[in-house]
Amino acid sequence: MSVARTAEPRAAAPGGGAAAPAAPPARPRTTWRNRAVRVASLLVAAGLWQLLTVTDARIWLRFDRLPSLDEIAAEFAERLGTEVYYLDLLQSLIRILTGFGIAAVAGITVGVLIGRSRRAADVLTPLLEAVRPIPAIALVPIAILLFPTDEQGIVFITCAAAFFPIMVSTRHAVRALPTLWEDAVLTLGGSRWHVLWHVVLPGVLPGVFGGLSIGMGVSWICVISAEMISGDFGVGYRTWQSYTLVDYPATVVGMITIGALGWLTSALIELIGRRATRWLPRAEGSGA
């Protein structure tokens, strides 16, 4: 290779037509007015709940048996002081992370395999498409029969729930990749492994993170349902137990905890996804 002389960098954007932006334009700011509207929306909903529950309203919907906000708050404060609350939390998190983690690795691997190899698609697609329409929660009897412990069964259900959205999203993302990028790497001397490493894996990330996000949502649905059916502890088990013991404030505390966990894990995936796909053009104000 010969680089005999080094061209002077041009002052402005070279060969460009339009100049490269010096700095990206500022994202429209979220004003105090936007924030006030958001907070007010929450406060109105909470106020309405309080009003309907303290007045024991029965307007076709029966609010007289639901706990008021102060009862829920008192129960929450009490629960936060108990060890069992954190053990339940930890147990549910371990189940979800194990099941979801296995599903993520398996879903991405199988999705890439099917997307790239016709033979793999011929072998695996009929089996996967036969199982895919079965909702994961309907696999509970199989899980009970198949696994020696309830714990393993719950992780299996969680994994089965997340696997399909991740696998399908990955497969679609692989098939939607422009062949141009692959051709470019091949003509630069790349092998099929280089194409996989430098094109396929980074290129499918936007689709994969879409699948991971959906997978996490259905994983939570399934782990909570499975805990309610056959768990010994965990947030789902505790919420259902509180309901059967007619402890409605504790039931709502369980529901709020499940919601918070779901939101936290989804937000984490969203955050990692945004960092991993920084190269994507984003609409102004997205994520504000």
């Binding site: 460009g16 470019a184 190269w279």
Partner: protein, 228 residues
Amino acid sequence: MTASGLRLTLDGASLGYGRGGVLHGVDLEVEPGEILVVVGASGSGKSTLLRGLAGLLPPYAGRILAHGEEITGPSPDRAMIFQEDGLLPWRTVLRNVELPLAIRKVPKQRRRDAAREWIARVGLAGFEDRLPRELSGGMRQRVQLARALAGAPRAVLMDEPFGALDAQTRAEMQRLLLDVLRDTSATVVFVTHDVDEALLLGHRIAVLTSGGVRILAGATREQILKEL
């Protein structure tokens, strides 16, 4: 130092997709180090010809040779520059340009230095850490050129690389290309539908028509237009 340019030969090559293909029994010889410009109307098979030379599309009849050896697949000896954006959008300018060297497992510091030299050579010093989406069309084509040449190929296959650029940027890019190629001895096959571009860049011009390939040496604009 760039190795000598490749002699590229199409020996009765038929190329294309589906029934009938696009090119039938094409014979063509590209001399080492020459710039052969291929012109032709849309659908005449210009890009198909390049894909055949790149090893991305095998001929269904005849042979395609590089220095006498049959081409059986893509090779770093024959880099390709595409009209559409062939840059990997998740890699910065620097990481795109160093890609052919990374594939060859050149040590990191050496490949970074070489990539920086090529980026400066195409006039993009200071843009190393930009992503392709932060660059204009002309700048992206400069990066493609730097990336192709960083791998020290013996032939560069260019598929209407300036086709989507405005007139001013296109003229600037043509000057840059001639300037950069002066330092290499690579054979260049340049596809365009612009006759003026062909006259400016080509040592020889190949006109692609439904009847086959016709080589014109020292042709005028009018002669080429008559052939098309």
